[in-house]
C-alpha cells in the first residue's frame, strides 16, 4: 500500500486539498492506522500552535496571526506549484506511448481469434478448397515446394502397372510380376486391391494377379 506524502497529509489536515485529492487521501486514511496516527499528530500540533498563538502578544501594523498563517500557507502552495513546474522541466520528455509490441500482440491475438472463428464457421468443403488454394499459392507464387503429406512409408498402398502389381507396407514390398504376355488389363478396386489380367503367351491361360490390403 502506498502512503500519501507527508505534505498531502498536512494539507489534508488543514483542509487544503482539492476534492479529488481529499477523497483519495480520506479513503486511504480510513484503512491505514499509521496515517491516521500521523493525521492525529498533525491535528494535535495544529491545536497546540493555535493555543500558543493566542498567548502571543499583538503583532505590529495590524497584523493578526490568522492573516499571517494564511499568507504562509499561500506561499507554501506557490512553492509547491513552482516545484512541480520545475520538476517537469527536469524530467525527460515523455516518450511516445510504447504501443509497438502491445499493438502487435493485440493485432496478432485478434487475427488468431478471427482466423479460428472463420475457419470453424467455414463448411468443410470450402475449408478444404481454401487450404488447397493456399498450398497452390505457396507453391506457385513463393516457389517453395513442400509436399503436404507424402504417402507415409508405413501406409499400406497397392499399385498396378502394366509390368506388375505390388503392395507396399513399411517400406517392404510384395510384387506379382507379369510374365511374357500379349497385353494386359490393369484394374484397381477402391476397397484396396490391384489386379492385372493377361493371357500368358506361353500357356495361353487367362491369368489374373492381384494384391490386397490387410483387411481384405
Amino acid at each position: 500500500m502506498k502512503h500519501p506524502a507527508e505534505v498531502q497529509l498536512a494539507l489534508f489536515t488543514g483542509g487544503d486539498l482539492g476534492r479529488w485529492e481529499r477523497w483519495r487521501v480520506a479513503r486511504h486514511i480510513a484503512r491505514c492506522a499509521p496515517c491516521q496516527n500521523q493525521i492525529q499528530a498533525l491535528r494535535d500540533a495544529g491545536a497546540e500552535l493555535r493555543e500558543l498563538a493566542a498567548e502571543m502578544p499583538e503583532l505590529p501594523n495590524n497584523l493578526t496571526w490568522n492573516r499571517l498563517s494564511q499568507e504562509i500557507t499561500g506561499n507554501i502552495r506557490v512553492g509547491l506549484a513552482a516545484g512541480e513546474a520545475i520538476a517537469l522541466f527536469d524530467k525527460p520528455a515523455p516518450s511516445k506511448p510504447r504501443l509497438g509490441w502491445h499493438a502487435a500482440l493485440v493485432l496478432l491475438g485478434a487475427t488468431a481469434i478471427f482466423a479460428v472463428a472463420f475457419w470453424t464457421s467455414l463448411p468443410p468443403q470450402q475449408a478444404d478448397h481454401l487450404l488447397a488454394s493456399l498450398k497452390r499459392i505457396r507453391t506457385e507464387r513463393i516457389g517453395t515446394l513442400i509436399r503436404a503429406v507424402p504417402a507415409a512409408t508405413d501406409e499400406a498402398m497397392v499399385e498396378a502397372s502394366s509390368s506388375g502389381i505390388e503392395v507396399k507396407e513399411n517400406g517392404r514390398t510384395l510384387s506379382l510380376m507379369q510374365p511374357h504376355s500379349d497385353g494386359s488389363t490393369v484394374s484397381v478396386s477402391m476397397e484396396g486391391s490391384a489386379g492385372v489380367r493377361f493371357v500368358d503367351a506361353d500357356t495361353g491361360q487367362v491369368t489374373t494377379n492381384k494384391v490386397y490390403y490387410a483387411d481384405q
Binding site: Q125, D128, H129, A132, S133, R136, T139, R147, A148, P150, E155, A156, M157, V158, E159, A160, S161, S162, G164, E166, V167, K168, E169, N170, R172, T173, L174, S175, L176, M177, P179, D182, G183, S184, T185, V186, S187, V188, S189, M190, E191, G192, S193, A194, R197, V199, D200, T203, G204, Q205, V206, T207, T208, N209, K210, V211, Y212, Y213, A214, Q216
Partner: protein, 372 residues
Amino acid sequence: MRISSVLLASVCALLPWNGVLSAAALPKIDFPSDSPVDLLAADYSGSNETVRGGALLLDFHAALSLRNSSQRKIRGITLLVSAQDVTPGGKGSVTITSLDVGPQDTFPVRIDLRLLRPLQASANVPVQIGLDGVLFDDLSFYGPDKLSSRRTMTLAEWEARRDRRYFKSVLASGGPERLRQEMLESLTHEADRPSLDVQVVRGGRATNFEPEKQVKFAFLRMPDSPVEPVDGMARIAGNEARAPRLEVLNRSDRAIRYLEVAWILQDRAGREFLAGSVPAELNLAPGQKSRIFEDATLKFPQLRAQPMAIEGMTGFVSSVEYADGTLWIPTRGDLESPELQRVVAPSDEEQRLAQIYRKRGLKALIAELNKF
C-alpha cells in the same frame, strides 16, 4: 591398413550381390488334404536373391504342375500368396480362369513373385502358397474363399459363357469370315484401349497441390441392370480421386448382396480411362436405396510422362450378385455403347480367343469354341 579393410568391406556390402535361393528360402506350398487339386511338381529355376544395400530382393519364379484330382471339370483356380514377414498385412493371389481341365488332367500355374525386405529380417520361410478356391464347370466351388475368389471366378465364367455364346452365334450366322472379322476388331480394340498406372492408398488423404473439388458422377444406364446409380460424387485434386460416394437403387425384385460400380475418368485433354471399381457388400432389398462410401484415394502417377489432371467421372454398374448367389453382368449389347467401347477391355475369354486366332488361326479358334 585397418581403415582400408573397413572401407573395402563397406564397399563390398553396398555392391549388389546375387545368389541362388537356398532351400529354406523357397516358398512353402500347402494344399488341404481334401483339395481337388494335387501338386505334382514345382520348379523354381531362375529364382534368386539379390542384396541391395540394406535390403534383400527375392525373385521367385515358380512353375507349378497341378492335377485335377476331382471328378468334375475345373474352370478356375485361385492360389493365395502371402509373405507374413515381408508384408504382414498385404497378400497376393494368382487366379486362372477359362480353364477346361478334366478329371486327372494336369495343368500349369506360373507364379512370378518379387519380395523386397530388410536384410536383417527373420530367416523364416518368406512365402506361403495356399489354395483359396477352385471353381468347377457346374459352378460349384471348393475352398476357404478368403479372397472372395468364388465371386471373382464365377463372374469370369459368366463372362466367358456370354462371349463364347456370342462368338458361336456369329459363326453360325455369318460363317468363319464374320468370326475372323470379329477377332480382328477385338484385337484392334484391345490395342487401342488406353491404359495407365494407378495406385490405391487407404484413407482419404490427398497429397496434391491442386485445389480439391467435388465432382459429380455421370452415369451410364443399362436398360436391364438390376441396380440404378442415382447419385454420386468424389473429391478430385489434380491426378487424385478420392472418397467416392454413391447412391444406388435396387430396381429388381430380388435382394442384392454385392455390386460393383466401374469408374471411368476423363482428363483435361478429353481422354478417358477405366480407372477402377467401387465394390460394395450390402443387403439391398427390392426397391431400396443404399449409399456406398469408400475411404481410399486413387492416384495416377503419370500418363505418357505427363501428369494426369482429372476433370470428370463416369460410372456404370459392372456386376451384381443377388442374395441367392446368382449374378448379373452387362450384356455385350450394353458394352458396345460408344462410351464403354472406348475404355472397357474385352473380357478375359474374348482376349483368350483372340490370341488363339492370332497364333493358331481360324480353324483352331473354331475348334476351341466347339469344345464348350
